[in-house]
């Protein structure tokens, strides 16, 4: 059954391609929208129809909800899939779609609003009996009051700026006698950095793991969870590697975390796909962090271990279909790992790298899935996200999945920008990672790359570069030389052609 006749994808890059593939499989015509620089982008060519948004920056193009709704109506689309980022978690956009008679593929605006601010989400979750990190919800007026609350919840604690975020404006206090001075200092800093001195505090979760639960709900009150994803490998609070299942979550913990996520979803009337992010401490206690009201970048690992196509189900439940399976039908099989191939220099603190993609060679073979939009000639600009592709592998168990990922990374070649591939190659053989001993600081703590290349790799690269120079730079010709004689003939040809060979 076709959920919709035509659907507009309000996004670009790999996620637009992912959604369009799902559309085609379900017999749904897909509509692309594009900014000025994206006129020839892969997502435009993958769609059935494409319309310009104009503009260059995200704000001028993919964030123009008004234009997108207008295009959807004009071309006769019934639904809009927002992907992730851009307008995906914007309740006003979801409302605007509904007002225009379009189906927004995602949760209802009311659920997005309830989850939108950390404080309101925390309040709703506490009321629903979802465990949250012990601490305050409201700003604390004085340092003395902070000291009193800290004594109640226990040390170490984290002081956080109400207007901060992503680790900014945070201070760790280990002992009660440090608290008052630290509070005043942090509050002054927050006033200087964010123009708002208000602070709140939480118990510090030491060496936390970031583990999240995938949820899926229909419009008939059914919500199931599809197991967890381990996302502790991060730099600057952004994920680099995700896997499912987590090496430390057993069936019992999975059931408990999943039950909490389902309760959280039901508390706000959540439908469609969503993710409940949690912190898991070293003793196995877990705490609600936030709900991501969208399809996540890392959804493929869940698809590979559950066999459930999340994009298909997003469209089906958005069209009003009930889920045709129950919680007890969900089984995890094998192990999946995703590496985010970012245009970033892992040797230079993951600084974004821009340029033209000169050549690409992607891995293939057993257990490999690539969700990407990498191709020769692609311009990687600073305008949009630096995610080039997601390399996802599946194997029977975790050790085999890591070996398979290492193999796939060796096959991956991207020329033109720096990528995170060398980091991933290192990680797949990094003993604590292999042992499953993870926390969110693993990258900051353990990744100290040296500029020195492995001698054997340097030698191979040097030989290739010298040969390329020798054969004449800039020449583009396919030569398959099966014998010395043939290679020799080819060299004499090159010489006759005036190329620089001895």
């Amino acid at each position: 059954m076709t959920p919709f006749k035509k659907l507009l994808v309000a996004n670009r890059g790999e996620i637009a391609l992912r959604v369009m593939r799902g559309c085609r499989e379900l017999g749904v015509r897909s509509v692309a929208v594009y900014s000025g620089p994206d006129r020839s982008a892969p997502h435009v060519r993958a769609a059935d129809e494409a319309y310009p948004l104009g503009g260059t920056t995200a704000a001028e193009s993919y964030l123009r909800g008004d234009r997108i709704v207008e295009i959807a109506r004009a071309c006769g689309a019934e639904a809009i899939h927002p992907g992730y980022g851009f307008l995906a978690e914007n309740p006003d956009f979801a409302q605007a779609c509904a007002d225009a008679g379009l189906v927004f593929v995602g949760p209802p605006p009311s659920a997005m609003r309830a989850l939108g601010s950390k404080t309101s989400a925390r309040r709703v979750m506490q009321e629903a009996g979802v465990p949250v990190v012990p601490g305050t919800i409201d700003p604390i007026p004085t340092a003395e009051e902070a000291a009193r609350i800290a004594d109640e919840i226990g040390f170490p604690i984290a002081l956080k700026a109400v207007s901060g975020g992503g680790g900014k404006g945070m201070r760790v206090v280990e002992r009660p006698d440090e608290l008052i001075a630290a509070f005043r200092q942090a509050s002054d800093e927050a006033a200087a950095s964010f123009g708002d001195p208000s602070m709140y505090l939480e118990r510090l979760v030491v060496r936390p793991r970031h583990v999240e639960i995938q949820m899926l709900g229909d419009q008939h009150g059914n919500v199931v969870h599809l197991g967890e994803r381990e996302c502790s490998v991060q730099r600057r609070h952004q994920k680099l590697v995700e896997e499912s299942p987590s090496p430390v979550v057993d069936a019992d913990l999975r059931a408990r975390m999943g039950e909490v996520a389902v309760r959280a979803a039901k508390a706000v009337g959540y439908t469609n796909a969503g993710t409940c992010e949690m912190l898991l401490d070293q003793s196995g206690e877990f705490y609600f962090l936030e709900v991501n009201a969208r399809l996540q970048v890392e959804h493929p690992v869940t698809e590979l271990v559950t066999g459930i196509d999340l994009v298909h189900w997003q469209l089906r439940v958005a069209a009003g279909e009930p889920l045709d399976f129950r919680q007890e039908d969900v089984r995890l099989r094998g192990h999946a790992v995703e590496c985010r191939i970012q245009a970033e220099d892992p040797y230079g603190r993951f600084f974004p790298s821009t340029g033209r993609i000169e050549a690409v060679r992607e891995p293939a073979g057993p257990g490999i899935r690539i969700d990407g939009s990498l191709e020769r000639g692609l311009e990687v600009t600073p305008l949009y996200d630096s995610l080039l592709a997601k390399l996802v592998v599946w194997a029977e168990d975790r050790p085999r999945a890591l070996e398979r990922m290492a193999r796939a990374l060796d096959e991956y070649g991207v020329l033109g920008v720096k990528t995170t591939i060398p980091f991933h190659r290192w990680l797949m053989r990094h003993p604590p990672f292999v042992a499953g001993d993870l926390d969110t600081e693993i990258v900051a703590r353990d990744w100290h790359p040296s500029d020195e290349l492995e001698p054997e790799l340097a030698e191979r690269a040097a030989v290739l570069a010298a040969l390329c120079e020798h054969l004449g730079r800039g020449r583009r010709q396919t030569v398959v030389a099966s014998s010395a004689e043939e290679a020799g003939r080819w060299l004499s040809f090159a010489r006759r052609a005036g190329l620089r060979v001895p």
Binding site: R236, Q238, R349, F351, P352, S353, T354, E358, A359, V360, R361, R376, P382, Y384, S386, D410, E411, Y412, G413, V414, L415, G416, K418, T419, I421, P422, H424, R425, D451, E452, L453, L457, A458, E459, R460, A461, A462, V463, L464, A465, A466, L467, C468, E469, H470, L471, R473, R476, Q477, T478, V479, V480, A481, S483, A484, A487, G488, W490, V501, P502
Partner: protein, 182 residues
């Protein structure tokens, strides 16, 4: 099997100086009666054949029977090579060009000044250094917000801050000089 050292006299040989990841390797390519031979540093010469040089950038060689496969392409001021998923910047010069370059560099005083440029357009978040300050390799010089992230530009080597050309809150273009070190 790689060897046949001195099996035939080289008809012609070229030595390349290859700068790669902070090291310099010499790669000698010699054409003999029975084909092309490669020698890295003091190693043994090995027969090298081109298995494929493809339009998509792939260069695959058979070096003494071993497959050496990579992507090779141009980059500003040199060559980029990808081997085992790892991209490496390489500068290749033949002996004559290397000699000329070193003679040219020897002829005038070394310019030790380094300009720290914005690798992309962005917003300067902070500049935690000041003029005259000594900085160790890896010290953060400028924090630039671009591509949804805060990016730290760091000192490539121990140096002294000679000039600070931007301040917090300023929008900068790609390649704009932010800080000068010496």
């Amino acid at each position: 099997m790689a060897g046949s050292n001195g099996a035939s006299r080289p008809l012609a040989a070229t030595t390349y100086r290859v700068e790669i990841g902070g090291q310099v390797l010499t790669v000698e390519l010699a054409e003999r009666e029975d084909g092309l031979y490669v020698r890295v540093g003091d190693g043994d010469p090995r027969r090298v054949e081109v298995a494929a040089q493809r339009e998509d950038g792939e260069l695959s060689l058979l070096v003494g029977g071993a497959v050496v496969r990579g992507l090779v392409g141009p980059r500003e001021g040199g060559t980029a090579v990808v081997v085992d998923g790892q991209a490496v910047d390489v500068v290749v010069m033949d002996e004559r060009a290397a000699r000329l370059a070193s003679a040219a560099a020897g002829g005038r005083p070394q310019n030790r000044e380094t300009a720290i440029r914005a690798p992309m357009p962005g917003l300067v978040v902070t500049v935690p250094v000041e003029v005259g300050q000594g900085v160790a390799k890896g010290t953060t010089l400028v924090v630039l917000s671009a591509m949804k992230m805060q990016n730290e530009l760091t000192a490539p080597a121990d140096a002294t801050v000679k000039e600070v050309l931007v301040s917090a809150g300023q929008t900068v273009d790609q390649n704009q000089v932010l800080v000068r070190l010496e």
